[in-house]
């Protein structure tokens, strides 16, 4: 049997999503971003919303996300993606808007923007890739870095006295009345990848149905900056990240009904 007999459309059992471009991804081998991008492309394709979806890419490793999915994109300043998405969503109410942000972008420099966009219940999807470290700038401490975790700016491990506590921002987001669906996922096994895709599909459907803000955290690895092999990084994530950032749905309801608030007295 020759190669051309094997590489034949009739033998196709799996293919790259049509919305993923031919551009070579800049992500490090073993990085979770590529998997999340693929799921995102599949979900947009499955929902047939590529002509009305606008993505907002962050500053961080996903800064070039716009190179990889065949939809309209805007590149935001560091942390400002939720404000940028608010501007698009408010003036384009029939479009589907999402932000794609890392932990430094979303939980540190953009903490105000994400909290207020979620609190207003902006009609959008937030994809939050949390690998506990600044990837693009070379592995510095993030708000989500675990206690004791070694990074370029915590070479002896994160120390609470010096660096404060790891921030469970997703738990904060789930408290906000503007969010309807808040979940924490991962993409380290085929089963979790399938689960994560379902969560993303649900989040995008919520945006189509104008249910307010949906928030999908993906606990991820950064094997390059964690200085581990991809396999070891997955194990480290399960052993250390999951006990603190527990996978599962944090909220699955709807935006808080304004009628539920006590009316003002004269």
């Amino acid at each position: 049997m020759e190669l051309k007999d094997i590489i034949n459309p009739n033998n196709l059992v799996y293919e790259k999503p049509k919305l993923l471009t031919e551009n070579t991804m800049h992500y490090c081998p073993g990085c979770s971003h590529g998997v999340v991008h693929k799921l995102l492309a599949e979900v947009i394709e499955d929902l047939d919303i590529q002509d009305k979806t606008i993505g907002v890419s962050p500053v961080g490793c996903a800064v070039f996300a716009y190179n990889y999915i065949e939809i309209d994109w805007q590149e935001a300043a560091h942390g400002r993606a939720p404000a940028v998405a608010t501007g698009i969503a408010r003036t384009n109410p029939d479009k589907v808007v999402f932000t794609y942000q890392g932990d430094g972008d979303l939980a540190s420099i953009g903490a105000a923007e994400i909290l207020h966009a979620c609190n207003r219940g902006e009609n959008m999807v937030v994809i939050f890739v949390n690998n506990g470290i600044y990837g693009m700038t070379g592995g510095q401490m993030a708000p989500t870095t675990l206690i004791g975790q070694v990074t370029a700016t915590t070479p002896n491990g994160r120390d609470v006295g010096r660096n404060g506590y790891p921030l469970k921002i997703t738990e904060l987001i789930a408290q906000l009345p503007g969010t309807s669906y808040v979940t924490r996922q991962s993409v380290h096994t085929p089963a979790t990848i399938r689960k994560c895709k379902k969560a993303l599909a649900k989040a995008f459907q919520a945006a189509i149905d104008k249910k307010g803000t949906s928030f999908v955290e993906v606990v991820s690895t950064c094997n390059m900056n964690w200085k581990m092999t991809p396999v070891k990084a997955n194990e480290w994530m399960v052993d250390n990240m999951f006990p603190f950032y527990q996978p599962g749905d944090l909220k699955d309801s709807s935006k808080t009904d304004p009628e539920s608030y006590t009316p003002l007295k004269n």
């Binding site: 590529q50 002509d51 009305k52 979806t53 606008i54 907002v56 800064v63 716009y66 065949e70 939809i71 309209d72 994109w73 805007q74 590149e75 935001a76 300043a77 400002r80 404000a83 940028v84 998405a85 608010t86 501007g87 698009i88 408010r90 003036t91 384009n92 479009k95 105000a112 923007e113 207020h116």
Partner: protein
């Protein structure tokens, strides 16, 4: 003639935004410009024209909401005052870098820091020389009346869309807070999605249509060669503005021996100073730059051949005077007179300064 009203400058900005078919206003309260958003919220334009008005959590968020909406081809405006504009500087640089149209109103107050809520013109450098990082320029319009507050909203949008560049209306607490009669503009309908596709489909990120490539709005370029080309393209745009968009006004310049140069509210004071000086037999004229960028270099250079000296009157420590000196050259003295910290100079003080700094000297 359109509808005649007695209104505050800040209120007129709001009214003009609704009438010119704005899609959205995003802003944050700060004195002395809060009436802009207050007027908008009171007018409820979402019911009338469909215009979105949103009070953001900060000036930083406001300007990035502007960025997002502008990138999707919408006509959007924000307003703030000096400290708020400093916070917006990041977003303004991104908007200029990504080549997006919008109008930003700065109702200046005195600085530096928290400064004062009283009027000032101390943000001239910030507005005309950058303000944020990188080599970029804003189109800067300086109204001197409530009528021009009205007129420059639509003018700002026309220039912003023509060049795909942010335009700033640089005004101050005097014009923002004072009431004058104003002829309001006629209503212009907001663009429909189809019209936006037709006009701005080559760049606007409003959903990839089957008949076009996907659009990407970014100011990022990792290849230095391509980044330099992007910079060159921006600079060519600014040069074209300097060739085609300069606006200025002259008063009593035909026979002038001395020239006052002033913008915005200072130019109103200087108009009176021209009258006072002429009553004393001093032939004084006034040149009022209307566009601060592009700056009216040529008319100043021409008048430098006619007059014996120029006095630049500003409510700051001397900022526009540097541009006037560059335009006038070294043949005649170009002096500065200014008050700071929210103090507004009187016409008499201007004449006194003219006599002391130019005529007496």
């Amino acid at each position: 003639m359109g509808e005649l009203r007695l209104m505050k400058g800040n209120e007129v900005i709001a009214e003009a935004a609704i009438r010119c078919g704005c899609d959205a206003y995003f802003g944050y309260p700060i004195t002395p410009q809060s009436e802009v958003m207050e007027t908008l919220m009171d007018r409820e334009p979402w019911d009338e024209t469909g215009m979105v008005v949103l009070q953001a959590e900060s000036e930083i968020a406001s300007i990035h909401m502007i960025y997002g909406a502008a990138a999707s081809g919408k006509k959007v405006i924000t307003s703030s005052s000096s400290p708020g504009i400093s916070l917006m500087a990041e977003g303004i640089s991104y908007i200029a870098g990504a080549e997006l149209p919008c109008v930003i109103v700065n109702v200046q107050r005195g600085g530096p820091g928290l400064g004062t809520i009283q009027p000032s013109q101390a943000d001239y450098f910030q507005s005309t020389k950058g303000g944020g990082h990188g080599d970029y320029r804003l189109i800067v319009l300086a109204p001197s009346s409530v009528q021009e507050m009205n007129d420059f909203v639509e003018l700002g949008f026309q220039l912003a869309f023509k060049y795909r560049n942010p335009a700033m209306i640089l005004t101050d607490g005097v014009i923002g807070q004072m009431m004058e009669k104003v002829v309001l503009a006629e209503y212009i309908p907001r663009l429909t999605d189809e019209e936006i596709n037709e006009k701005y489909g080559s760049w606007a990120t409003n959903g990839r249509k089957a008949n076009r490539q996907r659009n990407i709005i970014t100011s990022l370029e990792m290849d230095s060669g391509r980044m330099e080309k992007n910079n060159i393209r921006l600079q060519e745009k600014y040069t074209k503005m300097e060739e085609e968009e300069v606006l200025f006004e002259e008063f009593s310049c035909e026979d002038a021996d001395y020239l006052l140069v002033a913008f915005g509210s200072s130019s109103r004071i200087c108009q009176k100073a021209v009258d006072l000086a002429r009553e004393k037999g001093i032939k004084v004229g006034l040149l009022r730059p209307i566009t601060l960028f592009p700056f009216p270099k040529k008319p100043i250079a021409a008048l430098a051949k006619q007059v014996k000296g120029m006095l630049v009157v500003e409510m700051n420590a001397g900022q526009m005077v540097e541009d006037v000196q560059l335009a006038a050259g070294c043949a005649i003295p170009v002096k500065h007179f200014g008050r700071m910290g929210g103090i507004i100079p009187s016409p008499g003080e201007v004449v006194e300064a003219l006599e002391q700094k130019l005529i007496g000297g």
